[in-house]
Structure formats: C-alpha cells, structure tokens
C-alpha cells in the first residue's frame, strides 16, 4: 500500500520529498527498506547467495552466543483467573501443623499457588502468631526432591503398577475375615478425623487391631499422672500466670510440646517492668537447654537423680504445707533420704520460699522425658501448693475413649511384635513413622517385619522402615492434604492444603484408612467435613477455614484428686547415657531438611551432626576432647560417636540427641550424625546407667558456627538482676564509651523525616531458639552451604545467635544474643566499598546493591560485628539436591536448584550469585510492599504493618521493628526504655538495631549467699 495519496491532504509531512511528492520518496515508501537491503529481490547470483547466507549464519551464530535466549519451554497464561489471585501478591491461608500432641496453627504464604513461607496463626492458641524453627523449615520438607514420588515395592519381581489391585485384594480379604490378622500402626496423633476413621475401622473390621507408636512421647508423664490421679491426663501450663516456675528437666521453651505458646507466655513475664511482675525460673536439668539458659537459677544433676531431687523438694514442701496424703509424704521422704541431698539447701529453701508464698503463683513442671515418678510427685506438689486448676490444668489424653490410646508407645509396639511373632498378625499397614529406625534396640520390630505376609508403609520419603516392607506408598505432606488437629486443651483446627499433592498417588493417613474402610477413594476433604459436620453449615465451615480454628476456647479442664500411690521410681547408676529429642531433627524425621541440618544447635552451635555431649570435668576424667570418637557400650549394645565437650552438662553423664545417624535417607541427611537409637532399648528409655566408654583412635570433624564461647570480659551482652535494675535502670549505659565527644570523619546525614526504620531486641526475652534464623532463611532465599563449608566458617545465615558462657567452665551461665546487620547510620562497610555497592537509603537502611557488588569483601572486614555473608560459591548450585540445568548453549554447564526446591523461593527476593556480599536487609521487600500498599490507599504506614520475618516469627516477642521517628511506635518506645543500649557504642556506629539489656530475677537470698 502506498500512503502517499492519503497523506497528500495531510498537513503533516515527513520530509521535503513527501511534500514535493518526488519519485525518490515514492520509491522509498514503496520499498519500505533501503535499497541495499533488498538484494535478494534481484536475480540471485550464486556468489551473492553464498555471501549473504554466509553473513546470515555468522550473525545467527552471534545471537546464539550472546543475544536473545528465548525460553524453549511453553509458558501459559491463566485462561481463567483463579479467584482472589493477583500475580505478584501473596495470599495467606490458615492451616495447622502437628507433631504428636504439639499442635500449632499456621498462616502460610502462597505465591501463585506455591506455599513459600510459614507464619504463625495469631488466633490459634498453640501459635499466638509465632512458630518455632521446625515449623519454619517444614515448607522446605514439602519441596524435598528426595520425597517418595510413587509406589515402590520390595516384592521380588513385584510390579508397582499392581499396587491398586493388591490393596483391593487386601480390603476384600479384610471384608471376608472381618480383619483377622490385620493391624494398623499409626503415629501418636492429634487428628479427630483420623481417630474417627480408626474407630470406624475397628467397627467395620472388629478382628483387626490398631497400634500407636512414637519414639518421642510423653508416656512417662501420662503414666506418672495416671498413677497418682487414676486418669490418663496431660498437663497444660499457663506460663503467663505462673510467677515462679520450678522445672525438672522440662525444656518447655525448646523441645517440649507446646513450646511456642510456652515461649510466648513465659516471655510476657520476662520484662522487668511488666505489671504482674517478672517471673522467676528455677531449672534443674542434666544438660544445657535454652530453657536452662533463661533460668534465674540452674542446678546440674544427673538424669538418674531426678527422682531423688523432686522427692527432696516434695518432702520439704509437704513439711511446709500440709495437705498431702500421708503415704505420699512417707514415700517422698524415703526416696529423698535414700538418694541423699541432690539439691543444695539454699537453693531448696529459695524454691520452697517461692512456691509456698501467698503472693506468687508457683508451679512445678517436669520434662516429658523425665521419669513417671517425678511426674507423680509434681502433681502432688502442685496440688499442695494450689497450682492445679489455677495455672496448671489437666486434660484427658487425645481420644482417650479409643482403645488404642490406652497404652503407651513401648507397650503398644511390644504387643504388636508379640502378635506378629505369635502369628496373630500377618498383614501390617504402617502409617507414617519410622519404627525400624527408632523403636529401640530391644523392640525386635525389624525381625517381626520379616515374618509378615503383607506389609505396607505409607511414608513421605523412603526410610529404614520402608526398606523392610513389601509395599511403600507415598504419603502427603501436611501442606498437601486435608486434616484436622486438636491441641491438648481441646482446641480444634483444620489442616488446609496449600497445594495439590506434588506427586500424584500420594495420600494422607486419613485418605488411606478411608480407603481401607470404604474400598473406594474418599477425599480427605469429605472425611474432615464429615467429622466436623455436627456443628457446621457452609458459612461456618468457610469461617473456620478462614480463621484456621474451629473453636477458640479450650475445653474444660479435669479436676483431679490425689491418690496415695505414685509411679515407681527409677534406679540408675554409674556413667549415665541420656537420650533427648533433637532440637532440630526431632526424632529423625527432619534429617533431610537442609535448613534444619545447617541450623546451629542453640546451645552447642553444632550443625549437620549430633554428638555425645559430655561435661568439662567428666571429659577430663575420661580423657576425651571435642572431636574424639568414642565407643559407648551399654549391655550388649554399642555406639561409636563423636564427643562434644559441653559446659553445663552433669558429671558422669553423656547426653545424646536422638534422630541422627539415619542409614537410609535423602541426599541431605545421608551420613549425618550418630544413631542414638542403637543404644536406646525402648522408646520409654530416656536414660540408662552403667555405660562404659572406650576412646577410639579416630577423630571426627564437627562443624560448629561458634568456636569461642567466652565474652572475654567485653560489654557485649549486658545483664543485671531485677534488684540492680530497680536501683539503676540505666545500668546498660554505664559501661558505654567515656571520652571526648565522638565525631564521624565524614559529614553525617540526618535522618529526621519519613520512616526511619529501626529494631530493638530484648535480651531479657530472647531464648536463642533459632526460629528467627530459619524464618530469615525461608524469607530471604538463603542457601545452605553444607557441612564442610560450615566447618570453614562460610555459613550464610543472615542472623547469628551469639551464645556465650560465663562463670565456671564446668557449670556456667548461658546468654544469647541475636546478631544481624545493625543497619548503622555511620556504616563502616559503606565507607570502604570501592564501587558503592553498599549504600544508605533515605529511610536509614544499609542497602546492598547486588548488581554493583564485585566482591572485594572489604565491607565484611570492616564490619565490627561480622554479619556480612559472602557467596564464596554459587551455594544453591552446590546443594547436593541441585540438578544439572538443561544445556541451552555451548557455555551452559550450570546446575540449578531442584525444580521443586525452586518453588519455595520467595519471588520478592533476589537470588544472589556467587562473588557478591549479602546481609540482613530488614526484610526490605516487606517494607516495599507496605509502602506500595499504603500509597495506594493514600495513608501512612502504620506501626506493626511491617514485620520483619524474624520479628514475626519470634515466639518470645523479643524483636520489635518499626519507624523510630513515630513516637507511638513500639520500637520508638523500646528505644526509650532505660535498658536500651548500643553494642560497641564507642565505634559511633549509630546503629539502628539496639538491644534491651537482659534482666534476671534471682531469689534475693541466693544472690546474697553467692555474694
């Protein structure tokens, strides 16, 4: 077409030629391209053809190398937009995660249908808005590429495709025989729907049996309470109301169930200015836990001495406060007398003074791994001092009407093994768990499995148990399946899936049992709705899903009366070996979760392994040091394990966290740690005596993130007692710089307008639980680096929990300090960067410009707190689960994170390449989101609208973030707190992150005695 004619009338013209309508212009318009470009229109000569083709190939080659790289995969737009989904803006859904009886409600962030980040559900009583490190890491477990992806079979020449037929045959034969010879083994659970289905299963197949097993359980507690009250009950403690806590081995802030809620409540009373008064914690424990680290008084005793210690306390309490049945008094006195004085007299007197005081609510809590006798005694003491039903409440164990819950794990699995050996059970369905690995060295479970005619393991990933069964079927992750959970005090919440199961064919326990009952697939959704149907209409159901909880108020507590008998006491002597739940991998189920493996243990700072923890004096006596391999023998069982000398561990005691040393595991967990279950006879053994050790000639590398545990007398963490604080609230400022006024070498910017972000960390509340560290890792796409790189000091965590010991080497105190970029206004890093890759924003953030960074590492050298992290390698590519990238051109030799792992990445945060520095950003992506949102809504950002990932997750509410210029903001108020101090104040960093000095509340009499 020629635009000339129509253009003729047009008053606009393109050139003189057009105006004149010259032939050259006409030709130009007709041809569209300049003359020389259309050589091919001419008769093509051979030579020109070759010339042009040659040039074209050359250019094509160039673009192939460096130019356009179009993705070769198909991309698809949404043909129909899903409801409530705006690309780029995350949605949050309520769900629930349960481990045994520990139930925590969650809000999960979902980006375009991918769950990426876990947050606590503020309406759920088990969470109150926070989570712990394990919950944070569970999202990575969902995307674990080593998960079981389809049914496998260990039947020789078995075909996985015949699984459906096999299952139908099983159901048919169960129908025929009413379930004769069939058993189901479930883990300890808190799901009403699963329980309803198990009951239905028993009704439908009356000859079938149900067993329940978990290696880490609170059977000791239940047994102890049952012995004295006659009922199978669990304890729920209200730490918010408890003024004086005496804990016997109860790590309620760390590994005990309900630790998130306990941390929240406990921390609410760790503020010296709180109206109800600061609480006081006495800790009697065998090795340091984070709870012991927070204690105002801590006594080390051997794990075998708990019975004597609590009897000593009970007998003193009973003497001071009448009301205990006489047989109990006699028993307490007898045991106390037999064991001798474990608790020092002054310590005991202080406790008695506090527990019997009319002004304070006192209470005794006992760890779920401690002996049943101690639990019986604790109930008695709490009853006598009036704590029961006031701050300590009792609830029936989950589903106590069902038969399978009436015995403990050890008894249950023993019954199962005996039944298999007796030929009563020939078909076993194992739903979850890993009993071959963790049922104990004397359970005989592995042998029993081989006697079965038919066996199936429903599991998330292949493990030791699935190796010994005929059929292995994939189980869904909790973020993939419908379910429900009930807390100890009876609050029910819904487990809502965030994503369709990643691997087709995987089912939840609920769906599996339902299949066995109905011989047809019923969705988990329907089953859960059936369970909850009694009280729900559609609107109510939606509301539950939205809130994440079904009922908000706890059930009524059971009131108890003291009987006169207790559980029997233990007698353990010699060198004792104690088995504890691992802070990171729990019972071993999380060994393949990289974030948890690389998480420094809050006390030992150990990553990627467990170790035999031995006290300083005992290690000297046994002539072992950290990294030595020793052989521990108890009876006929032996374990080779590395030693870690750990201050604060009881004498003649070896503590081994359970869960490590898996033999069949994914690429992350394989080859990490040592298997404590090899020494542990049964799941009810928490401690055994009479161990002998033999030092082996080999050593083992333990990768820790902190090598030096002394503060070297430097004023880094400041602490005072409550009395000192009351006398001088400004104590933290006293050790600050004295001298001439400090001045920066450069003109100082003033930050006096807009939002000036700042943070305050309350060391009085911080327990060092590490939740912030994993939350940060999850939010900010921080890679794991592997054991050897941690051993070389290259871990990438943006937050470091600095743990120091102070006092005698063998029995020190422990303090914790979260350390991350302080966002100094006079940032030393910014001044030395030669390329301006780290600069200050107008809102006071110390920004990293990854694109600009060339990696001189000078900033890190000049950072006084060493919180900058350098990408020495492309750590995401070096992850053992990384896969070879599809090669698209000659130079493409790269690896990439596994496709599923990529789904976890937060799309709002850049993935950093190797060679650049990174560090805490105060979650700048969250700040940006809030800024955009507030601008759209035409308002200012309100206080609390932006929560950094660490602040949001913190179960102790120790971290406050916000605008320091807003006088009403929480952070501004925290900075006005007299305890506020700058770390390394004399460097004139003008840090935006400041600390609130820690305050402890020791008993005045004990302080006097110490002085």
């Amino acid at each position: 077409m020629s635009p000339i004619e129509s253009d003729a009338e047009n008053k606009y013209w393109r050139s003189q030629g057009q105006l004149e309508n010259s032939p050259e212009f006409k030709e130009f318009v007709d041809r569209e391209f300049p003359k020389d470009a259309s050589v091919l229109d001419d008769d093509v000569s051979r030579r020109t053809f070759i010339k042009i083709m040659g040039a074209s190939f050359a250019f094509a080659g160039l673009t192939g190398c460096a130019g356009i790289r179009r993705p070769k995969q198909t991309i698809r737009p949404y043909a129909r937009m899903p409801e409530n989904l705006i690309p780029g803006r995350p949605n949050f859904y309520a769900t629930t995660m349960a481990i045994g009886s520990d139930v925590v409600g969650l809000l999960v962030e979902s980006h375009e249908g991918r769950p990426t980040k876990i947050e606590g559900n503020p309406s759920h009583p088990g969470s109150l808005g926070s989570t712990n490190a394990i919950h944070q890491a569970s999202v990575l477990e969902l995307y674990d590429p080593d998960r079981l992806k389809s049914v496998t079979t260990h039947i020789p020449s078995g075909d996985p495709d015949t699984y459906g037929d096999w299952l139908s045959t099983q159901v048919q034969s169960m129908k025929d025989t009413q379930g004769t010879g069939v058993a189901v083994l479930v883990e300890n659970h808190a799901s009403p729907t699963l329980n309803r289905l198990l009951d239905d299963f028993s009704k439908k197949y009356p000859n079938a049996s149900i067993y329940q097993f978990s290696p880490i359980n609170d059977d000791a507690a239940i047994e102890g309470i049952q012995a004295i009250t006659g009922k199978r009950l669990r304890v729920s403690v209200d730490y918010a109301k408890l003024d004086r806590v005496v804990s016997f081995g109860c790590d309620f802030l760390g590994t005990e169930p309900n630790n998130v809620r306990a941390s929240k409540e406990f921390a609410s009373r760790r503020d010296p200015d709180v109206e109800a008064g600061m609480n006081r914690l006495y800790m009697v424990e065998s090795h340091f836990t984070i709870t012991g680290g927070k204690a105002d008084h801590r006594i080390r005793i051997q794990p075998g001495q708990f019975d004597t210690a609590i009897a000593q306390l009970a007998s003193a309490i009973f003497k001071a406060t009448p009301g205990a049945p006489a047989p109990l008094v006699a028993k307490a006195r007898a045991i106390a007398k037999k064991g001798g004085d474990i608790l020092p007299e002054a310590f005991l007197n202080a406790i008695i003074d506090d527990l019997t005081s009319k002004n304070h609510n006192g209470g005794v809590v006992v760890g779920s791994q401690v002996s049943p006798f101690a639990h019986s005694m604790a109930v008695a003491i709490n009853q006598v001092i009036g704590a029961n039903n006031l701050t300590i409440r009792y609830y029936p164990v989950h589903f106590s009407e069902s038969k399978y819950t009436t015995v403990g794990s050890t008894e249950s699995i023993q019954a199962l093994v005996n039944a298999i050996h007796g030929g009563d059970i020939t078909t076993l369905f194992i739903l979850g768990g890993n009993p071959v690995f963790n049922s104990g060295s004397e359970s005989g479970f592995t042998d029993a499995l081989s006697k079965l005619k038919h066996s199936l393991h429903l599991t998330q990933s292949a493990n030791e148990t699935s190796h010994h069964v005929q059929w292995v079927a994939p189980k869904t992750h909790y973020l993939e399946a419908w379910g429900d959970s009930q807390t100890i005090d009876g609050v029910t919440s819904i487990v809502q899936p965030l994503i369709t199961p990643l691997y087709t064919g995987s089912v939840s326990e609920i769906e599996f049992i339902s299949r066995l009952i109905n011989d047809a697939d019923v969705s988990g959704y329907d089953e859960v709705r059936t369970t909850l149907s009694a009280a729900s209409n559609e609107k109510g159901w939606r509301r539950w899903l939205h809130e994440g909880i079904v009922t908000n108020s706890p059930a009524d507590a059971i009131s108890i009366a003291l009987g006169s008998s207790t559980a029997s006491e233990r007698s353990i002597h010699g060198l004792q070996v104690e088995f504890t739940p691992d802070f990171k991998v729990y019972d071993g189920r999380f060994t393949n979760v990289g974030w948890l493996q690389e998480l420094p243990h809050p006390v030992t700072k150990l990553t990627w392994d467990n170790a035999a923890l031995i006290g300083v004096d005992t290690a000297k006596k046994l002539h072992v040091k950290t990294g030595d391999l020793i052989k521990i023998s108890v009876g006929k069982h032996v374990l080779d394990i590395a030693v870690m000398v750990q201050p604060g561990t009881a004498d003649d005691t070896i503590v081994i966290p359970m869960g490590y040393g898996r033999t069949i595991d994914g690429r992350i967990g394989q080859g990490t740690g040592f298997n404590a279950y090899a020494l542990r006879p049964t799941s009810s053994t928490s401690v055994i005596g009479g161990a002998t050790i033999q030092k082996l000639s080999k050593t083992y590398t333990l990768a820790t993130t902190q090598e030096h545990s002394s503060m070297e007398g430097r004023p880094l963490i400041k602490e005072a007692t409550l009395t000192e604080y009351d006398e001088n609230p400004e104590f933290a400022k006293e050790s600050e710089h004295e001298g001439p006024p400090m001045k920066s070498s450069w003109p100082e910017r003033t930050y006096d307008t807009g939002n000036q972000w700042g943070m305050s960390i309350d060391l009085s509340k911080c327990t060092g639980c590490n939740a912030c560290l994993v939350a940060c890792q999850s939010e900010n796409n921080i890679p794991i680096v592997g054991k050897s790189q941690v051993a070389n000091g290259r871990e990438m965590h943006w937050i470091r929990l600095d743990r120091y010991f102070e006092g005698p080497e063998n029995d020190p105190n422990m303090v914790q300090q979260p350390m991350t970029c302080l966002q100094c206004e006079n940032a030393p890093c910014e001044q030395v960067c030669p390329v301006n890759a780290t600069v200050h924003s107008h809102e006071g953030l110390n920004d990293m410009v990854y694109n600009r960074c060339i990696g001189t590492k000078y900033c890190s050298n000049n950072c006084p707190v060493k919180v900058r992290r350098f990408n020495f390698f492309d750590f995401h590519q070096r992850n053992p689960q990384a896969i070879a990238k599809k090669r698209e051109h000659f130079f493409d030799y790269f690896k990439e994170p596994d496709k599923t792992v990529q789904m976890q990445f937060n799309p709002d945060v850049t993935i950093r390449m190797r060679g650049v520095m990174e560090k805490c950003t105060y979650c700048v992506q969250r700040i940006s989101q809030a800024r955009i949102r507030s601008k759209n809504e035409g308002r200012e950002i309100v206080d609390g609208e932006i929560k950094s990932a660490c602040m949001q997750v913190c179960p102790s509410d120790a971290i406050v973030f916000g605008n320091t210029l807003d006088p009403n903001s929480k952070v501004a108020k925290a900075k006005k707190n007299p305890r506020d101090y700058h770390i390394l104040h004399e460097l004139y960093l003008k840090a935006r992150t400041t600390y609130l000095a820690g305050v402890r509340n020791p008993h005045p009499k004990l302080v006097e005695e110490k002085a």
Binding site: Q706, E707, H708, S709, S710, M711, E712, G713, R714, L716, W746, Q789, N792, G793, R794, E795, R800, D802, R803, Y804, Q817, M819, P828, E830, Q831, V832, C833, P834, V835, N836, R852, C853, I854, G855, T856, K857, Y858, S860, N861, N862, P864, V865, K866, R869, F870, N871, F872, F873, D874, M913, R914, G915, V916, M917, L984, L987
Partner: protein, 461 residues
C-alpha cells in the same frame, strides 16, 4: 670486631666500576647476553619459570571458574593470601623506584649499575601485585567497576574507599615506573641497535630506540625527561605504600586501625625491596660475570639500607604494642596480645626473627660483604616481610570485636600454588629482561667512570 677488616676512607670516592674497563668493554660486557646465544642455565631457569607461570594461570582459571571459595577464606577472615601477596609484591617493587628516582635526585652515583635492574624488578613486581588486586574480587568480570567509567546511571566509584585509592595509586605507579624504565632504556636500546649484526635485532631494537641518534638535543631532552620522571616517581615511593597501608589503617579493625601504618609500610617496602634486589643481584652478577659493575661496594651499601630499614620496622613493631597498651582500648590490646600469643603466634615470631633479628647481623662488615650470608639474609628478610603482611592481615581479622565470630583461617592449595606461581610470572618477565635487554644502564655507567671526566687522561683517579 676484628681489626683486619679495612675501614672505608670517607675522604676518597669509592671506585664504582672495577676491573679497568673502558667505554668499549662496558658496552661489550653489558650487551653480551643480548648478542649471544642464551646460556644453558638461562634456558633451564626459563623453563621452570614458564611452568610456574602456567601454574598461576591454571590457578586463576580455577578461581574464576569455581569462585573465590576455592581459597580458604572464611567469614571473619575475608582477606588472606590474596592481600598478603598483593602487599608483598607492591612492597618489593618499591626498592626499584627508590633506587632509580630518589637516589638519582640525591646524586648517588653508585645507583647507576643497579637501577635498571631494580626498575625492571619494580615493573614486574607491580604486575604480580596487579594479578592479586584484580583476581581477589568475587566477580572479576565486573572488576572494571573499580574505574571511574561514565555510565548512564551516573554511578561513580566510592572515592572514600581506600581500595579505590589503591586502584589509582597502583595504576599510576605502574604507568610511571614503566615509563621511567623505558625512557632510561632508550639510549641503551640504540646502542644495541647500532651494534646489531642481525636484521631482526636491528628492526626490533630500532623500533624501541625511537630514533635515538645520540644527538646533543636528544641528550638534552632525555636528561630533562628523566629528571621529570624521577621527580614524579619520588613521591610515589612514599605515597603508594602509604595508600596500600590505608587499606588497613582507614578501616576500624583493631590491629589495622593505627596511624603508624604509612611510614611503617614504606620502611617495610624498602626493606623487602632491597632484600629482593640483593637476592637477584647476587645471582645475576655471578651468572653474567658483571662483578665489575655490581661491585661488593654496591652490595654492602644495600645491606646497610636493609639494616636501617629493618631496624625501623622493628621499632614499628614495638611501637604498635606500646600504643595498644597506652591507648587503653581493650580490643586493641587484645589484638596485639593475640598476635604474639594467640593461635597465629608462630607467624608472629617468624616475622620478628626474620625481620628484626637477622638483619642486625649486618652491623658486622664481614657479614655485609659476605655473598653467601647476605644472600641467605636477603631471602630471610623476604620471608619475614611476607609474614609481616600475613600477621597484619590475618591475625587482626580472625579475632576482632565479637568473640562469637572468631575463626581460624588456613590457605588451600589454590592460594599456595597461586603464590608460588606468581614467582613464575615474575621470573618469566625477569629472565626475558635478563636475556633481551641491557641489564645495566650502559650510558649511565659510562657517565660515572673516570673516563667520562673531561680532564681524564688515562691515569688512575
């Protein structure tokens, strides 16, 4: 000390060229390596040097391919052998400039027979240092961000950063040193051109002689240019290593943040540079038979400078400790106690014995004039100076303010091979220099011979 050693008579000038050379024999001797076939030892050494060069190239290749993680650096210790190597090589370069420029301005005529040699060393040492500064970064492919290149986002380098100053200091230093060296070479290149018997030699030396005809005007311009370049180089001797020391002194790390660093670093640089010159000269004068030009007097004078600068360095070590105590700053005090008694005390005491104790032997004239002993001491000094940089860089970094971040650093084979390989880079250049360029400034040496005196009539002076 024994009286048998004759004491220099200060009233008399020492003969700078021995062996009764005249102008022709000087030219003949200096040009001989260029004009004859390479000796066997040269071929063997060159083979070794090139293999070491390949070693550094392969290590750099691995470094770029895999990332800086192939080194042993870790979180508190982000600089290790890389920066140590950088400062070490820059320091060595300093002696060359000092000999050429400062001694020239002070009319120290004994410099003439060694200045060429020392300048060549400077240029090659700075090249070695340059490889470290370029490759220590995480992303070497964007290292050009270090230069103030105009760009559309108007991002400039950070002129407050000492590392930025380093870039300018070292590049200026390299440019000036190269020019100075080259300008000095011109008359001698022309000499070789004029003596050339092969066409290749004629053409190549002719190109680089830049048309030198020895005309009066040429000499006038040459002398002036040489003087100007000497004047430009002189401040560089002090400034470059001062700026290198700012990398440390301007930071706030205990053990780095001290005002003594600039003079201390300059003294250390001259110390190590002179030691390196002695090492190389002892070998070269032996191998090329140039003992008449590089006389014992030269070597002795240099040993005196090593003694002087070594003592200055020793003083600085002591002063650092004094200031650490005197300041009352607990972090500073700890940093120095940790140097002497911490995990790296072995490095500290190696440094002290090599740098402070051994050079003191040069108080004895016999030792100053003993070729084997001075050769050994010169090597010890260079080992000591390498350790000095290691001690400053690593011991300060590995334990700073927060004990929680303390960590130990050990190098990997890549760092070690890279450092060994950097000697290959240096030696390759240096051996090529020995073979293809006049290693003694012919025209200048002639100028300090008695024959150059207009009143000379062939008598002994």
């Amino acid at each position: 000390m024994s009286v048998s050693v004759p004491i220099d008579d200060p009233s008399k000038r020492v003969t700078l060229v021995e062996g009764g050379h005249d102008f022709k024999s000087v030219s003949d001797t200096v040009c001989r390596p260029v004009e004859t076939k390479a000796p066997k030892w040269w071929m063997i050494s060159f083979g070794i040097a090139v293999s070491l060069l390949l070693l550094i190239l392969s290590m750099l290749g691995k470094l770029v391919w895999s990332g800086v993680g192939v080194w042993g650096l870790n979180n508190p210790v982000m600089w290790g052998w890389d920066l140590v190597g950088f400062v070490f090589w820059v320091g060595i370069g300093h002696a060359g400039t000092l000999i050429s420029a400062i001694l020239f301005l002070f009319r120290q005529k004994w410099r003439t027979s060694i200045n060429r040699f020392a300048e060549a060393m400077t240029v090659f040492a700075v090249i070695c240092a340059g490889t470290y500064i370029a490759f220590h970064v995480g992303r070497v492919w964007v290292a050009y961000y270090l230069f103030p290149i105009p760009n559309s986002m108007a991002i400039w380098p950070n002129f407050r950063s000492p590392l930025m100053w380093d870039v300018f200091a070292v590049s200026t230093y390299f440019t000036i040193s190269l020019l100075f060296w080259f300008v000095g070479l011109i008359p001698d290149l022309a000499t070789i051109r004029d003596r050339a018997t092969t066409k290749t030699r004629k053409i190549w030396y002719g190109i680089f002689a830049m048309g030198w005809r020895g005309a009066n005007r040429h000499w006038m311009n040459y002398e002036r240019a040489y003087l100007i370049l000497a004047a430009l180089s002189t401040p560089l001797v002090l400034s470059v290593h001062s700026i290198v020391s700012f990398d440390f002194a301007v930071s706030q790390l205990p053990g780095w943040h001290t005002t003594i660093f600039p003079p201390y670093f300059v003294a250390g640089a001259i110390f190590s540079g002179f030691a390196m010159v002695v090492t190389l000269m002892v070998l070269a004068r032996e191998l090329f038979g140039m003992k008449d030009f590089m006389t014992m007097h030269h070597l002795e004078t240099m040993n005196k400078i090593i003694l002087a600068t070594g003592t200055m360095v020793g003083y600085a070590y002591g002063m650092e400790f004094f200031m650490a105590w005197f300041s009352g700053n607990q972090y500073e005090s700890y940093a120095f106690l940790n140097r002497a008694f911490g995990p790296y005390s072995w490095a500290y005491w190696t440094m002290i014995s090599c740098n402070v104790i051994f050079p003191q032997l040069f108080w004895f004239k016999k030792i100053r004039r003993s070729i084997p002993i001075m050769f050994i001491i010169s090597i010890i000094v260079n080992i000591g100076m390498w350790f000095e940089r290691f001690v400053i860089t690593v011991t300060s970094l590995h334990r700073d303010f927060l004990p929680s971040s303390w960590f130990y650093y050990s190098p990997t084979y890549v760092e070690i091979c890279q450092f060994i390989g950097s000697f290959g880079l240096f030696l390759t250049f240096f051996l090529l220099f020995l073979k293809y360029l006049p290693i003694i400034a012919i025209s200048e040496v002639k100028g300090v011979m008695p024959a150059a005196n207009p009143h000379y009539h062939g008598e002994e002076h």
